[in-house]
């Protein structure tokens, strides 16, 4: 290499490394240019060697290594084997013998690793074996610096093999990467593992503390062992996409379980192996740098599974040995907050992979294991409670949650066999959890921050969301020992209720001091948590299934009753007494325990309502009210009016107190409805509370067996009458619609037609009359802008939205008879109020809700009516907003919101074509297709969809989603669009492919592929669509070849390209010829031509299953072509 060139590189390096004040931007830019040019050099091997030998600049050496890397990847296939070998040997020698800075060394190690990997594709790992020999030699002869270098080399090698899907960097197709990885796993991974364990076992024989050098070496060795134990061993049968996902998750730091084959038996089952691994942890436990890696090894070992465990005896021996060592560890140390995570993960892994074996272990071992688990869990609960107050770390909280998951697995297993291990553990954990959430003297809750914290935003998660998982498991513990848990809960509730009552009593007569308010907050917090825990103990999360009474509690209630400890009469009396607030008398001990807790909650509700009535409502806590609403919802869903046929056995007390046609059930329903009414009256300034209240209402009436009774209660009619008296604009947003959804849902259960008609008349007529009353005023045209009229219209629209949301298959005919005529008035109203955004959006929303909830059940005639009004509404909206130019602040944001609603509407309309639940579907043929409505609507809306608006991600996704959906169902309709519309549509697809992110480009590719397939299959060469789609062949080819389409989407892109080639084979040939002719280097042109030939080899252009073959060949094509076409 000429000296000048080297000097130029060195001076460029100096400029890049210079502080910003000494060089200008332009100089820096030029210097960068020098290196970018350098990276493109051809056959730079000799030059780079020379630089490594002679240059004084480390930066230039680093760049030389980078250049080597790029060139090797690009030119590998052109290189002579002997050249490669000599370069490889040279580099290894260079790294070992020279004193170079770490960043240069790392880069060179990477180059070496890439060379070894590429070489191993051809020699099946022979050369790699030689390198490993060299590394082992380094350990025997070398000093610690050499040993560390050996570790680094291994780490780099492993990195190259670990990931297959995303490592297209090395210029190999995925299959080849994958084969190389399998070969590496089979041949060398075990050897590396064995070797590293061997070295560590020697090291830790010496006494702690180790010196710095030794610690450093240990760190490297442990990292290697850790990554082998977390290695992604994969079955070869998985498709690439799954492996890609798997590798992505793995890289995001979720180690997969340790899945090994038979060939690892001798290592893993060697008697000294597990003790050694635990000993390693023991020795490095106090060193934060090392302990984490050693702990991860143990966590991974606790998950050992796969072919290696084929023999049951092996498994038992392994878990027995593991347990023994693990128990030794946890019983002899105080667990630190940092290691708590690892410990809990170990237990979880044990339970995930060995739970059957754990319960088969010797009784004594099991017993001490359960004891230790309990002790640790309690310790983590307490730790978590302290953490919350004292510090930002959440180690204990996280460990506690993992521990609970781990328990859940174990409990499930233990419940299959009878035993008495769990009772004590459950009591202990339940009590500790409760204690940590109660104030002193009963509990140990510290004066937390959030009781006093200044501002809490309401969009923050509340406790029942934040701690849902832990509360569920605590409830599970409670149900294991109901005789312990339920009495504690009702005692606590009754105690706090009395305190609250006496507090309120005092406050009625005297002003509140700061001290009082702290006490009151503490009472509220205690009630809040007790109710949360009670709710999770008494009821299980139903998650879409019908909620039922948990069988443990059913059994418990029956047992208590059978023993004469509870009876129905006393239980009923307690329920009936909840409204007698003055009465402090002890609750009857003969009351059923579940009923008693419920009665306590009802009593709290009654106190709240009566406090509001005497104008003390502002002392109550909305947070507690929300929790009470949540409890009532949960409880009513499971316990109120239970369906007897769901249960094998049923408690006479529960069915007697809450079953159908009982006075108790009637009382409870009216009580709950009265509470809802009271909240709406007195707490309408609390939006969150009202939201929870409405949710309680609509969830309970959503269950037919319950709503059948509710429609007959006095409470429901009271509620209906009360809310109808509330003036428009009194309630927070969305509350009115929630109520109407509930009213409409409640009628669903009415079986007889006349009953239903009568019911809905009572609900809907008043609303209809109000609507008529407003619209039919003589001077409506002049007064429509008045605020009271607007408020009334808004309120009515809220009602209509609620009504459409409550529609079900059984009621839709009645409801649409009511809604239909109203909807047809709305286009006119929209035109009138087009300057008033709130109303515009509500009208669009109403149509969207109707399309979503009502349309799918409608008959042909009714559907057509809805289509027509939808047409009109969209048209009016478009007319009012076309060519409109406004300077209003945030005008664009407003348009965005509107258009989102329109897109929603069109998408819902379209879905009628996919899912039509019209009961008469077999008897009548649709006369208008929903897709025509959607397309027609789109035609009006497209002029309003500016590029700026499409930059809103939500709108962008909706828009492209809709396009693709239409195209999926009806490509022929898209093809038949008028030319200008088709052009606009395709322009937006082009924008979607080029301007936005992958999740937009993906549906656009699908769109093109779908359309092309249709065009091909119907031989539509003469059509406008054929012409219009043609440019996409070149566009998508270019995007893919220039890597502007991300690697994840290459598969989709290749399918799309295949269909396009099928349509436009001549154009494709021309495109290929052009690309080849454009190459200046004849060798490249020739290779390109070869690759293009290979790409199409044996792929018939039939636009069918052959696309899969094309996809595979395209994958290889892209890999090969990128190497020389894209000199990056």
């Amino acid at each position: 290499m000429e000296k000048q060139a080297l000097a130029a590189l060195e001076s460029a390096a100096n400029i890049i490394l210079a502080p910003p004040n000494l060089v200008s931007n332009e100089q820096r830019h030029n210097a960068e240019g020098v290196f970018l040019g350098f990276r493109k050099s051809k056959c730079p091997y000799a030059v780079c060697r020379q630089i490594l030998e002679t240059s004084n600049s480390d930066y230039v050496k680093f760049e030389a290594a980078e250049v080597l890397k790029c060139a090797l990847i690009r030119e590998w296939t052109f290189l002579q084997e002997s050249d490669i070998l000599s370069l490889r040997q040279y580099l290894l020698h260079y790294i070992i013998s020279r004193d170079i800075p770490a960043f240069v060394q790392d880069k060179l190690l990477q180059v070496l690793a890439i060379m070894v990997k590429r070489g191993s594709v051809e020699d099946f790992g022979q050369d790699r074996g030689n390198i490993l020999n060299d590394v082992e030699a380094l350990f025997i002869n070398g000093d610690s610096a050499k040993q560390i270098l050996g570790c680094k080399l291994i780490t780099n090698l492993m990195q190259e093999y670990a990931i297959t899907v995303k490592s297209t960097d090395v210029g190999l197709s995925w299959e080849v990467h994958y084969k190389a990885k399998m070969n590496f796993e089979a041949v060398d991974l075990k050897r590396i593992f064995q070797f590293c364990v061997q070295v560590i076992s020697e090291i830790i024989k010496s006494d702690t503390p180790f010196g710095d050098n030794v610690n450093n070496l240990l760190k490297h060795l442990l990292t290697i062992i850790e990554s082998i134990l977390s290695w992604g061993f994969m079955a070869s049968s998985l498709p690439k996409k799954l492996i890609g996902l798997y590798e992505m998750v793995q890289r995001a730091d979720h180690a997969p379980s340790l899945r090994l084959g038979m060939q690892w038996k001798s290592i893993m089952f060697a008697p000294q192996f597990l003790p050694l691994m635990f000993q390693i942890y023991w020795k490095v436990r106090d060193n934060d740098q090392l302990s984490h890696h050693a702990m991860t090894c143990l966590v991974q070992l606790a998950s050992l599974n796969g072919g290696i465990m084929a023999e049951h005896t092996d498994k038992m021996l392994y878990i027995g040995a593991f347990m023994e060592n693990f128990l030794k560890l946890i019983t002899s140390v105080t667990i630190k907050s940092k290691e708590s995570l690892g410990i809990s993960q170990i237990t979880k892994n044990i339970h995930l992979h060995f739970v059957h074996d754990v319960i088969a272990l010797p009784k004594a071992l099991q017993e001490s294991y359960i004891d230790d688990l309990t002790r640790l869990t309690c310790c983590f609960i307490e730790g978590a409670a302290t953490e919350e107050v004292d510090c930002d770390e959440k180690c204990y909280m996280d460990s506690f949650e993992i521990m609970l998951e781990s328990w859940a697995l174990l409990i499930q297993e233990y419940r299959q066999v009878t035993n008495d291990f769990l009772g004590q553990a459950a009591t202990c954990i339940f009590n500790t959890y409760l204690k940590c959430h109660l104030s002193s003297p009963d509990g140990s809750r510290k004066q937390g921050t959030d009781l006093e914290v200044e501002e809490i935003e309401d969009d923050e998660d509340n406790d029942r969301t934040k701690f849902k998982d832990q509360l569920q498991t605590i409830g599970l513990f409670g149900r294991i020992v109901p005789d312990q848990a339920l009495p504690i809960l009702y005692k606590l509730l009754e105690d706090r209720t009395n305190k609250l009552r006496s507090h309120l009593h005092t406050m009625q007569s005297q002003a509140m001091s700061i001290n009082d308010s702290v006490t009151l907050d503490n009472i509220f917090e205690d009630i809040h948590w007790t109710v949360l825990i009670a709710g999770h103990t008494l009821c299980m999360d139903s998650d879409g299934e019908t909620p039922t009474i948990p069988s443990d509690l059913m059994r418990y209630s029956m047992d208590m009753n059978a023993k004469g400890l509870t009876n129905l009469d006393e239980s009923l009396k307690v329920m009936a007494s909840v409204q007698q607030l003055g009465n402090d008398a002890e609750c009857s001990p003969l009351c059923d325990h579940a009923v008693r807790i419920f009665a306590d909650v009802l009593k709290l509700c009654a106190i709240e309502s009566s406090a509001a009535e005497v104008k003390l409502g502002h002392f109550m806590s909305p947070e507690v009210s929300c929790t009470l609403m949540w409890f009532l919802k949960r409880w009513s869903l499971s316990y109120l009016l239970p369906t007897e046929s769901f249960y094998q056995e049923i408690s006479p007390v529960l069915i007697g107190a809450l079953g159908k046609d009982t006075e108790g059930a009637n009382f409870v329903m009216n009580f709950v409805l009265a509470k809802i009414q009271s909240n709406i009256c007195y707490y309408n300034s609390e939006p969150i509370l009202l939201r929870d209240t409405v949710e309680l209402f609509s969830d309970v009436v959503g269950i037919k067996s319950k709503s059948l009774y509710i429609v007959k209660t006095e409470g429901l009619w009271n509620l209906i009458n009360l809310q109808s008296k509330l003036q428009a604009g009194m309630l927070p947003v969305n509350i009115r619609r929630g109520l109407y959804k509930g009213f409409v849902l409640a009628g669903t259960a009415l079986k007889k037609d006349d009953e239903a008609v009568q019911y809905y008349d009572q609900i809907l007529k008043p609303v209809q009359q109000r609507f008529k009353g407003v619209l039919c005023q003589e001077n409506f045209n002049r007064i429509y802008q008045q605020d009271n009229i607007q408020k009334e219209i808004q309120d009515l629209l809220e009602c209509f939205i609620g009504i459409s949301k409550g529609a079900t298959m059984g009621t839709v005919v009645i409801l649409f008879k009511f809604l239909g005529p109203i909807l047809s008035e709305l286009p006119v109203l929209l035109n009138m109020y087009h300057n008033y955004q709130v109303i515009v959006q509500m009208i669009l929303d109403l149509f969207g809700q109707c399309a979503k909830n009502v349309l799918c059940y409608l008959s042909v005639a009714d559907s057509n009516q809805l289509y027509e009004t939808t047409y009109n509404v969209v048209q009016v909206y478009a007319k009012c907003n076309q060519n409109r130019f406004s300077t209003e602040a945030l005008n664009e944001e407003g348009n965005f919101q509107d258009l989102c609603l329109v897109m929603d509407l069109l998408t819902y309309i379209l879905s009628k074509d996919c899912l039509d639940l019209n009961p008469l579907i077999n008897q009548e043929e649709p006369t208008v297709a929903a897709s025509d409505v959607a397309l027609y609507g789109l035609r009006f809306i497209m002029p309003l969809m500016t590029l700026d608006l499409l930059k809103y991600p939500a709108l962008c996704h909706q828009y492209y989603g809709l396009l693709t959906l239409i195209n999926d169902i009806y490509p022929e309709k898209v093809c038949a669009l008028p030319e200008d519309m088709l052009r606009k549509l395709l322009t937006s697809v082009e924008i979607g492919l080029t301007q936005f992110t992958a999740d937009v480009a993906q549906p656009c590719l699908d769109f093109v592929a779908g359309l092309a397939t249709h065009i091909f299959k119907h031989s539509m060469k003469q059509s406008a669509a054929y012409q219009a789609l043609m440019p996409f062949l070149k566009l998508i080819m270019d995007l893919t070849l220039s890597q502007q389409i991300c690697t994840d989407m290459v598969a989709t892109a290749s399918l799309c390209i295949y269909t396009l080639i099928c349509c436009y084979s001549e154009q494709y040939q021309m495109l290929v010829q052009n690309m080849i002719q454009m190459q200046t280097d004849p060798a490249v042109a020739e290779r390109l031509a070869t690759e293009f030939n290979r790409l199409m080899a044996n792929v018939p252009l039939t636009c069918d299953r052959h696309k899969l073959k094309f996809r595979d060949q395209f994958d290889k094509f892209i890999c090969n072509v990128h190497g020389f076409l894209l000199v990056k």
Binding site: I456, H528, P622, V624, N883, S886, E888, A889
Partner: protein, 160 residues
Amino acid sequence: MADMEDTHFETGDSGASATFPMQCSALRKNGFVMLKARPCKIVEMSTSKTGKHGHAKVHLVGIDIFSGKKYEDICPSTHNMDVPHVKREDYQLTDISDDGYLGLMADNGDLREDLKIPDGDVGAQLRTDYNAGKDILCTVLKSCGEEVVIAVKTNTALDK
């Protein structure tokens, strides 16, 4: 001061005040509210509370409907806030006078010539469209005694 007097004079025509009260919790996004004595459109509305067991407070962010300035306020959800009467009406543009006044015709045929051509982009657009002989619809925003053309729309064959 003259402006202030105008304000009273203008809104006095129906004998009503320029605002009316509404409970804070019942306000809604995209609705209107007075913030710092200015009529604003609510662009953000969230609730918060003081302490876990405290009562709801409403946090409002509004944009002055005339100046586009941003205002914020936080108030207990039980309180009443003033809500401005806001009127937007469309007029047909008939003429632009030499001194920059617009000739506007309401739907019912009433004529008015008391509004000036607005500053900025809308004004420029208005002149261009008018000079091009287009059929122009002006949206006039009126609240708290202020009145201004806020948007223009050129009619096409599709309309009316």
